[in-house]
Each structure stands twice: as C-alpha cells, then as structure tokens.
Symmetry: C2
Subunit: 345 residues, 2 copies
C-alpha cells in the first residue's frame, strides 16, 4: 500500500477527514473530544501516516521552507553559518533551500526567481553586496528577509552580523603591546560590507591608540590567498610595516606567502593576524593569530529572527551584532626589527 493519506486515517478511525485533520493539529487541542483525538492518533500511528506538506502548503500557503542565499556552500567561512541556520530551522519544523550565488548579482536574481517558484516563507541572505538590488527588491515587495554576516548600504533590514570591532581592537591592542607601531591592513574587495566594517574598526583602533594613520592599507580583489599575496606585496613595496591585520584568514595566508617571497619571517620580521579562524589555521606555520566569530550561533540567530518575523510580520527590523574575540597564536610576536627599510636579507 502506498503512503496513507489523511482520508485513510479518517476512515480507519471512523471519523470525517476534517475531524482527523483537527485532531492531528496541535494548535486545536481541546476543540476535539479526547476520545476522538485518541482514535485518530492511534489510526495515524498504525498506518504510519505522515502529513503531506504539499497539500498542506497549497491550502495554507505556508510551506515551512526558507530560501538561503550564500556566496558559496564550499566556502569554509559560510558553512558553519549555514549549519546553524539548518539546525535552528529544522528544530522548528522548517527546511532550508540553499543556493550559492558565487557573488554574482545576476545569478543571485536568477536563484531568487527559482526559489520564489517554491513559495518560500522567507529568505536568509548571506550573500548580499553593499549595493544589492535583489535584496532591496525583496524588501520592497514585503517579503520576509533577514541578512546575515553582510549588510546592504543604507538599508534598514533585519540582520545578524558579527561585531568585528571587538576582535580587531583587541588584535591591535595586542600588537601595540608587543611594540608594533606601523600596522598595516589588507582588506577584501570593497563591494561587501564586512570589508568596510573591518577597515573602519582598524582605523578607529589605531586612532584611539594615538597612532597616526600609517597609509598602510591595500585591498585584495577577493578573499583568497592569491589576492592577499598580491595585495600584501603591493603594500610591502610601498610601506614597511611590522605587523598586518588581514581581513580574512585566506588573505592572511596570502601575507605568509608574500613574506616568504620577500625572505621575511613571521612573526620575527612581520606579525600577521587573520580573521575567521578557519579550519586548520591553528596548524599553519606559524599557527595563525586570528579573530573568531560565533558562526553557528549567528546562523541560529538569523533563523530565529526570521521565524519571529514570520510569526509577527509587524516586528520592527532589528540588527543584532554578535561578539568576536581575538585568539593569540604564534603569528604575532614582539617587534624585532626597525621598520625604516626593507631588509630582504
């Protein structure tokens, strides 16, 4: 016999389909006699009835499905966030439909269309660009959206982000205490909000320590090792720094590569700090000092925020910032050389 339907359960329990539906609906408890409820549950159990979300969704136009847009599923920075989203959603009877945008606005728009087809109850967007039109459009249409990790310029949308300033301030204080005074920054591409946020945190931290802006910032064309290498090479050619804050662990590894090419050693010649605490960073050489953020928790929080908004559409948009923390490992150490020239040997 095929999957039993609600009608089968009703017949087995000797009641009407509608009654069976009500008996099985936890929200309607008390409105059906205890004995009928028991009969229905027994029959459902016996037949192995599982409700069909399709029929349910068609009738109620709630699919208990959330669209999740991320830059890339295979990117270690986002995977734990997605896992947090998955866990929280499922705990509440929702499922996630994931789509990787590859940071391509056109692809993002296409994917959103595809997901619309499935009548998602809402969206979590981790792939937003600072000038993201798609997200704007969704919000204009009154679709439930929560941003995570990345924000959109000038958009007052519900969001969960990390408070990157905490970790970066701590990292710079740590470098300052080790004697560093010329601290550079390798940022990511400027079209995503985290790049700006981290840059500002860096500038502010330097200022509050009374260090003049050292004109030691370069931006990589992407959050990759190779782009980090290229950017740090440009910086080294221009400005001798004794320490560098990278906008991301991959950029930090790019800094390692550039340093090696220059015959410089980390941390003896230059200290490097990363961001994100990706897997294996503790086993690099040297183990990378970096900033952690509660990725799983951020995913959970974004899911929770979205579900709250689905249940109460009048909620004002709020932004939640989760604390980051600096982790000192061995890529940051005391200054050991003068910073007044390149000593490639």
């Amino acid at each position: 016999m095929d999957k039993p339907t609600l009608a089968d359960v009703a017949k087995a329990a000797g009641v009407h389909r509608a009654t069976a539906s009500r008996a099985l609906n936890p929200a309607l408890v008390g409105r059906i006699s205890a004995v009928t409820t028991a009969k229905v549950h027994e029959a459902a159990e016996r037949l192995g009835y599982v409700p069909d979300l399709l029929g349910q969704g068609l009738r109620t136009s709630k699919t208990r499905t959330i669209g999740v847009l991320i830059p890339d599923l295979a990117n270690p920075v986002f995977a734990p966030i997605v896992r947090g989203i998955e866990d929280h959603l499922r705990e509440h009877g929702y499922e996630a439909l994931l789509a990787s945008t590859d940071n391509d606005p056109h692809r993002e728009a296409t994917l959103l269309d595809v997901l619309q087809t499935r009548r998602c109850d809402g969206f979590i967007v981790a792939s937003a660009l600072r000038n993201d039109l798609v997200v704007r459009h969704l919000l204009d249409q009154g679709v439930n959206v929560v941003l995570v990790n990345r924000l959109v310029d000038g958009l007052d949308a519900p969001a969960v982000v990390s408070d990157d300033a905490i970790g970066i301030t701590a990292a710079i204080q740590h470098l300052f205490d080790l004697g560093h005074r010329v601290i550079g920054h390798i940022g990511g591409p400027l079209d995503v909000s985290v790049t700006t946020t981290r840059l500002e945190a860096y500038e502010k931290a330097l200022a509050s320590l009374g260090i003049d802006a050292p004109d030691a910032v370069e931006h990589a064309t992407g959050y990759t090792v190779e782009a980090g290498r290229a950017a740090f090479t440009r910086l080294l050619q221009r400005r001798p720094v004794s320490a560098v804050i990278a906008g991301n662990d991959l950029l930090a590894v790019g800094c390692y590569v550039a340093l090696a090419e220059y015959g410089l050693r980390c941390p003896d010649d230059v200290s490097v700090v990363g961001f994100n605490d990706m897997p294996l960073t503790a086993h690099l050489f040297p183990p990378l000092s970096t900033v952690t953020m509660p990725q799983h928790e951020m995913g959970c929080a974004a899911a929770r925020m979205l579900l709250a908004r689905i249940n109460d559409p009048d909620l004002a948009p709020t932004m939640m910032a989760m604390p980051t923390a600096f982790v000192a490992r061995e890529s940051s150490g005391p200054t050991k050389r003068r910073t007044d020239g390149n000593t490639t040997d």
Copy 2:
C-alpha cells in the same frame, strides 16, 4: 496585485487555463497553435507569472526536490560534493534539501522522515555507514537513492565513489621511490566504507611492491586532527616507520602534531601523505602531499545518476568510480634515517 496565477495568465491571453498550461509546457510543443502559444507566453511575461511548484507537485506528484543527506555541511570534505550536487540539480530544474546527520544513525532516520514529508523525488546519501539500515530500508521501499562517496556493505545500490586505490598506489610508489620501506597507515573509523577501501588499497600496494605487511596500521576514532594524533602516537610507540599514509588530511595533520611531540621532523624523519586535498593543506608546514579527488564532479555525477534513474526507474544500479590523483608536495621526501629505532633526539 499578488502573484499572478495560471488562471490570470489564461484570462489575460483569452484562453482556457488548461490551454495556457499546455502552451507553457515545453514537452507539449507543437500540440498548441503557434499563435496561442505566443499569446500565452506574452501574457505570462507581462504579468510576471511564475508557475507554482506546489500546485504542480500536488497534481503530478513530482516535486523536483531531492533530499541530500551528508554527515556535516560544515565539513570541508563534503562541501564541494554538495556544491556539485546543487549545481547539477539546479541546472535541471531540481532543488536539494540538505540535512546533516552528524554520522548518527538515529538522526539520519529522523531526518529522512522529515524529508519524506516533503515528497522528495529521490535521495542522495553521502552519510551512509557500512551497516546503514536507513538506506537499506529506503531501497526496499523502492525509493530512488544514489550513494555518494560512502558505500553500504553488501548492498548493490547505485553509487558514485572515488577510486582511492589509484591515488594511494601512486603515493606508495612515490614513497617507495624515495627509499621508504616501512610505511604505516593511519586509517579512520571502521564503520565507514572509505576507511576499508583505503586500507585495502594500502595493503595491496605494499604487496605488489613486494613489501611484507609491516604491521603498521592504526585506526583513529574519527576523521579529526586529535584522533589522528592519538592513533599515530600509538603507532610510533609500537613501530618505527619512515613514512605514513593517513586516511584523510585531518589525520595527516594529527600525524604532524604527534611527530612534533616526539621531536621528529617531517619529512626529514618521517614522510606524511594525506587524503582529500582540503583547503589550506598546500600552506601547512610542510605543504602536505595528498590525494585529490574530483569532489565537485562526484557530486554532479551522483545528481546525474539520480535524475537518470528518476526518468527511467528500470535502470540497473551502477557504480561509478572517479579517478583520484596523488599530489606531491613537501611532506614527503627521501628517507634520511635508519628505521631501526626511535631517535627522539
């Protein structure tokens, strides 16, 4: 105005809903007059009509949704496979519903129930244990299932795996050519098929080189750095090896850690080879020699196999093995010490 429905399109085009449906169905091209088809398409375009997969699914009982079970979304080994699945499915109008089992059979069963509720057209399972009951059960019910990466003992199921023997044989040949004769193996937990496959490949490669079984195998309790460290420590205490094949890159990093604790150096004292070519392994110290597998391609292939079976349920189950390749980096080098004793200093 809310999302336009097929009825709206039909009215706008001045035809019946059924006609509009047919005009929009690519499979029925030619059975509707060109002029009507044009009218319908124009109206659909103008109103911004997107078909509702819920209604469609309810009617056709095809949801164009595939359940995907993986151990952990945040595990770098599986993420690229999932990305391959995602890409291929979407290209063919399907979506994936992902669920992380954490290698817990009970959780796997629960997740499957949850996904059944959504009437998936089939399943791709990357989380199978060697004695997986859930997968067996699914197949018994005639549900469309394709395994990827991991197999189930004694089950003739459609599957896409990597041909690990190629990479391991090449790795061992490489070590042999460098002079190694006592080559150990750190395997993963024995409840997953890849552990067995890699162990057998290791034994066979040694045999075909005429090396006696060196009694130098230890199994880690999980594919983690810490478990690898513990297992390799056990091995070092028991048997001095000049090289080791780890069942996975994280285990290989565990070997690095154990070696460091013993005051041994890689590759000068012991060569280490990993498996999977995870992100950042090329930037470890030393850069890790490892075995790559075409993860994205495997994901695509699994998706392709599943869709083929959905379209033709009578297909005989086939198993596809994708080639792996050894990548020499710097963790493997010539033997430099006698292997007749521990020289911890």
